[in-house]
Amino acid sequence: MKKRKERIDRGIKVRSSDIFALLSWREMLYLAAPRLLPVVGCLVLPLILGAYWQKVLLSVAVFALLAISWDILAQTGMVSLGQALFFGVGAYCSGVMNHYWGLNPLITIPVAAVMGGLICTLLLLPVLRLRGIYFSMVTLIIPLVLVRIIEATRIFGGTEGLSGMTPLPSKWIELYLVMAVLLTALFGFRRMMDSDYGLVLKGINDNDRSVISAGINIYWFKAQSLFIAGAIGSFCGAFMTHVYMFVGMPVFALDYSILPIAAAVVGGPGTLAGATLGAFILVPMSEALRGFGGLRIVLYGVFLVVFIVVLPEGIFHFIQRKYHQFERWVEVEK
């Protein structure tokens, strides 16, 4: 007697998502809960956490944004192994504007986000035609080159970096600024990826040649996707510059490339929400393991391997499936 597992949508999912006739509070809650949970969480968490964990929350949000930026690029078919490039360029943009020209952080951060996005797009424009692993290798190498160029030419403070940046007015502004950006990016870009525009981007990932034969200029769309991802990454860099009040060579460190990828892989690539979830799991975990020092990176490596091999869909897709569907064993017909 052979059995197989059958997955069926829950009745409440069918009623609430397809028919659009919300009959009860329960159905409304079923639809609203997954959206309300992160919103309420992001707004309430800063109030209930202590000073130390508030700092952790800041880096959670920053890594979640970096992971979202990675995921947008990956959904357009460009897998980046160097998010540190976006982070570092944004950090140096706002650092230079603040250090040499004395501009206010509330001006430098948005300007650096746009400028960083433009610079990253221009830097990667020559390799826009590359596909798959070749593009990844270019993104892996550019941050390494930039670090060494800064070291060799001693521009922008060289190995010392620039310190004494103006901090943001208060820690509440810091926290709620980054939370607002995170929520806007998460929901806004999720919506964007569901629109026709996002469909073109996903189409480039699935089959770029057929997108070309539909008469669409994929290079223009790839460049736009790069600009979006670059701007998000640069915002993170610019923001962290003013939080740490320092910018230097560590902004191009491997951490900023590895952790976002790990977050997206653990959480589940292709949804943006998965990337955010991954960051909310990995960063606090790594803080809890701070006592182990270098072992944290060992753990990231192991996590990456285990999730890619055992659960390649990621945690978010797993939870989503359990939420929308139930499973049962049925007999296989002869």
Partner: protein, 290 residues
């Protein structure tokens, strides 16, 4: 000065070729990504060091054990990790890079860094060639890497296994119809590459000392040689080693040691931008760009 620099550039090219040869066998010739290559290199170096200094084994026995341990480890990693993500190039890269990261960071957590972590040279003697001191180890490297490159070319072009290696990189399905067990060949390719990493460590480590950072360095330089030369081309390995080797040594002497790494990284970027399959690469020209 010029002659000495040229001589050392030649030796540097030989070192690069020796470093890259295992990676080239795995990634270049049979198309299986093993980005834990640098970690294998460091792992075998620490293995030999431990067997010599902690367990007091005979040198030859320690070397043989280390090479075989690497071969087996390579096969295990293929069976338990790579096999499950085979064909998805980026998952292969991320998974193996994760393994490499874990191994290297584990060693740096132990903090085994310093001059006492070193392997013995084969023969402690030096010669004067054209007015420059050259020690025996470096001459051995030049000779051995010439032999290995010729061996690699012969293996990839004139043995059934070597042809199978190239076959699975060019078209796995067609290779299957010719009776090539692609999983077995890919296992062999990863484990031979890992074994060659141990051999490279054995020759090159005595010139410096063992450190976990060396692992990333070896990976990047092997990648540079592989990409610049072109995947699947033995002549490309030689040409790329010479280009990178000479460029590194001459920038080191005439411009400054800060620029050494920038030159090889910039060379990778330039080649990837202009001709992603490398100077001599013939495979996958349709897949590299659109």
């Amino acid at each position: 000065m010029l002659i000495g620099t040229t001589l050392y550039a030649l030796i540097n090219a030989a070192i690069l070729a020796l470093m890259a040869i295992g990676f080239n066998l795995t990634f270049g010739i049979s198309g299986v990504a093993n980005f834990a290559y640098g970690a294998f290199y460091v792992l075998s170096a620490y293995g030999i060091w431990g067997m010599l200094n902690l367990l007091h084994f005979h040198y030859l026995i320690a070397v043989i054990i280390a090479v075989f341990a690497n071969v087996i480890l390579g096969a295990l990693i293929y069976r338990f990790v790579l096999l499950r993500v085979r064909g998805q190039a980026l998952s292969e890269v991320i998974a193996t890079f994760g393994i490499g990261l874990a191994i290297l960071e584990l060693f740096s957590y132990f903090g085994w860094v310093g001059f006492e972590y070193n392997l013995p040279v084969f023969l402690d003697r030096s010669f004067i060639i054209a007015g420059t001191y050259v020690d025996f180890q470096r001459i051995a490297i030049v000779g051995f890497s010439a032999i290995l490159i010729f061996g690699l070319w012969w293996f990839a072009h004139h043995t059934a296994t070597g042809l199978a290696f190239r076959g699975i990189a060019q078209d796995e399905r067609t290779a299957l119809t010719f009776g090539i067990d692609s999983d077995w060949i890919a296992t062999l390719s990863v484990s031979f590459g890992a074994g060659l990493a141990a051999v490279a460590a054995l020759f090159i480590i005595p010139l410096g000392s063992i450190s976990p950072g060396e692992g990333y360095d070896v990976l990047i330089r092997a990648l540079a040689v592989c990409i610049i030369g072109g995947l699947g081309s033995t002549g490309g390995v030689i040409a790329a080693s010479f280009i990178v080797g000479f460029a590194e040594r001459f920038t080191d002497t005439y411009i400054g040691s800060h620029w050494t790494m920038i030159v090889s990284l910039a060379a990778i970027l330039l080649v990837l931008t202009v001709k992603p399959s490398g100077l001599f690469g013939k495979q996958k020209e349709l897949e590299e760009r659109i």
